[in-house]
């Protein structure tokens, strides 16, 4: 190879590396201003490992979405490129029914299999007593207690159907949030927790 063509070829390669690499890095950095890797931004499906590892392990194959029979698992599209196309749950639209199909289908270990539905811990349901119909005295309700799959352990109600949440038994499935009939805002909101399984 002649010196001239060699120089030319290496120049082209260097220019291309700089162009493609620089472009991609700028793109990823500009779109990625606030990577909330340490903070869980949404409810993940059951069996999910902690958020930073989840984003690394999830290969965006969408198979958990495919197998979810209740349409609970949706695609993340708006939380920046790192979290894009990862699965999450909005319980007020479609709550998780704890069928655990997604934990068994995940190929890469972003969701690890869970044995019993009681072992799931994706969030904790918090109640706002000012909005709850039974608590603020405007009526009789108790549908959250009826909907709860961990009945009487995660939610208990008293003689006036006022629910009480028990954080240690709550799986965070969000069935109670989905059915909550409170006007305007839901009285129950499931808040994601950072670490799962303990």
């Amino acid at each position: 190879m002649e010196r001239r063509s060699f120089l030319r070829a290496s120049g082209e390669i260097a220019a291309s590396v700089v162009c493609i690499g620089g472009g991609l890095s700028l793109l990823s950095l500009s779109l990625n201003e606030a990577p909330q890797l340490d903070k869980r931004i949404a409810l993940r499906p059951p069996g999910s490992i902690n958020e930073a590892n989840f984003l690394e392990k999830c290969i965006r194959c969408h198979r958990c979405i495919d197998v979810c029979p209740s349409q609970a698992i949706q695609l993340q599209g708006h939380e920046g490129p790192v979290a894009a196309h990862t699965p999450f749950i909005i319980p007020s639209e479609h709550a998780c029914i704890l069928c655990l199909a997604c934990t068994n289908v995940c190929p890469s270990g972003a969701l690890v299999p869970v044995e019993k539905r009681e072992d799931v811990k994706i969030g904790i349901a918090k109640i706002d007593k000012r909005l709850c119909v039974a608590h603020n005295g405007s009526g009789v309700c108790g549908v959250c207690h009826t909907a709860c799959p961990i009945k009487n352990k995660a939610i208990s109600i008293d003689y006036r159907t006022r629910p009480t949440m028990h954080d240690d038994a709550c799986t965070g499935c969000g069935q109670c949030e989905e059915v909550c009939p409170a006007d305007g805002h839901k009285a129950i909101r499931v808040e994601p927790i950072e670490m799962v399984g303990a």
């Binding site: 690499g21 890095s25 590892n53 068994n104």
Partner: protein
């Protein structure tokens, strides 16, 4: 054997169409299997709707009851997790990641990205990943030519190109540098390592195409009791726009743009196919330098001057098109020494 080699392009086309059909049926199948233990499939069958989804569910039901699934799996109407897991374990997924024959299969690009991002080996994936790796090392880049559904779409673009050019219009064919894809692969994996962003998977046509397909099928089937056509169009995302633009670009501007110059997955398969066992070896004595093979090669290589290298995807198009049978398929690890490539 000679008969098979003579019709190898027909065999290849039928294999690809079969795989595409299987990939298209898969989302319907997964939908049916995941909804089976819930009881709503039964509810839909019992009701008297007469729409397309209804017939599809009936068909799936027929397949499932023909001895393909165990009775235990079929009977489950409760929300017990065991039933869903049993039925899903049969088959699910697409070319990016799939479960088939009891093994988790994985695209090499997905495997590379997973390994780089998580900085660890995921044990359940070893069997499937290593199988694909072994297949690539033995047979070369055959994923691109025999399996990839996006490759089939791009081939369709080529066909349209030929049709348009036959009618007298000349189309642009801009050539880029081949090593763009290796740069893209390296830089993409490097960004994955540093930022934790799986960038290459977001621009991988086969995965994108099948994701869109799954989204459409699920929007269609989830509204099994309603008219779902509006929801189906809403299920398409910006990814379809990207794919459509890519197809248009390949048709009118640059032939096989993505596979030749940009596909990071193809680059990875090429690198692992370096020591492939099946190769085209030109017989110089029979070659008349007609150049048909150079025109036929979908990857834009030059079999006539033995300039194949690692990027040959063993589609055997040059073998089929050669009028003198000067390009036989040999089991060897060496290419014929290329005379014009020395410079």
């Amino acid at each position: 054997m000679n008969y098979l080699l003579k019709h190898i392009q027909k065999i290849r086309l039928s294999v690809r169409l079969f795989i595409l059909a299987a990939l298209c049926i898969m989302p319907f199948f997964t939908w049916y299997l995941s909804h089976l233990p819930m009881g709503d499939v039964k509810a839909i069958i019992d009701e008297d709707y007469a729409n397309v989804q209804h017939y599809i569910i009936h068909m799936m039901d027929g397949v499932a009851h023909s001895g393909f699934l165990s009775d235990d799996a079929l009977e489950g109407t409760s929300q017990e997790n065991q039933n869903i897991s049993d039925t899903i374990a049969v088959a699910s997924g697409d070319v990016w990641s799939a479960r088939l024959f009891g093994i988790e299969w994985l695209d090499m690009l997905a495997w590379a990205e997973l390994t780089v991002l998580s900085k660890s080996m995921v044990l359940p994936l070893l069997a499937g990943g290593l199988s694909v790796l072994l297949l690539t090392i033995c047979c070369g880049r055959i994923f691109c030519s025999w399996i990839c559904p996006a490759g089939l779409l791009f081939d369709l673009c080529d066909k349209i190109r030929v049709k348009i050019e036959a009618s007298g219009r000349r189309l642009r064919d801009i050539k880029f540098k081949r090593w763009h894809k290796y740069v893209l692969l390296t830089v993409g994996l490097f960004i994955g390592l540093i930022v934790g962003l799986p960038l290459l998977g977001y621009f991988y046509p086969p995965a994108l195409f099948l994701r869109e397909l799954h989204a459409v099928v699920y929007a269609f089937m989830d509204n099994a009791t309603e008219e779902a056509w509006f929801g189906v169009t809403l299920a398409l995302s910006g990814v379809s726009l990207f794919l459509f633009a890519l197809l248009m670009f390949e048709t009118f501007v640059s032939k096989r743009f993505w596979c030749r110059y940009m596909c990071a997955g193809g680059a990875l398969y090429s690198l692992f196919g370096r020591f492939r066992l099946f190769r085209i070896q030109r017989v110089k004595a029979q070659c008349t330098d007609c150049g048909d093979c150079n025109k036929a090669c979908p990857m834009g290589l030059h079999p006539m001057t033995d300039a194949l290298g690692i990027e040959c995807d063993n589609c055997f198009a040059c073998h089929s098109v050669c009028p003198e049978e000067a390009l036989p398929i040999k089991i060897t690890q060496h290419d014929v020494q290329c005379e014009s490539c020395a410079a």
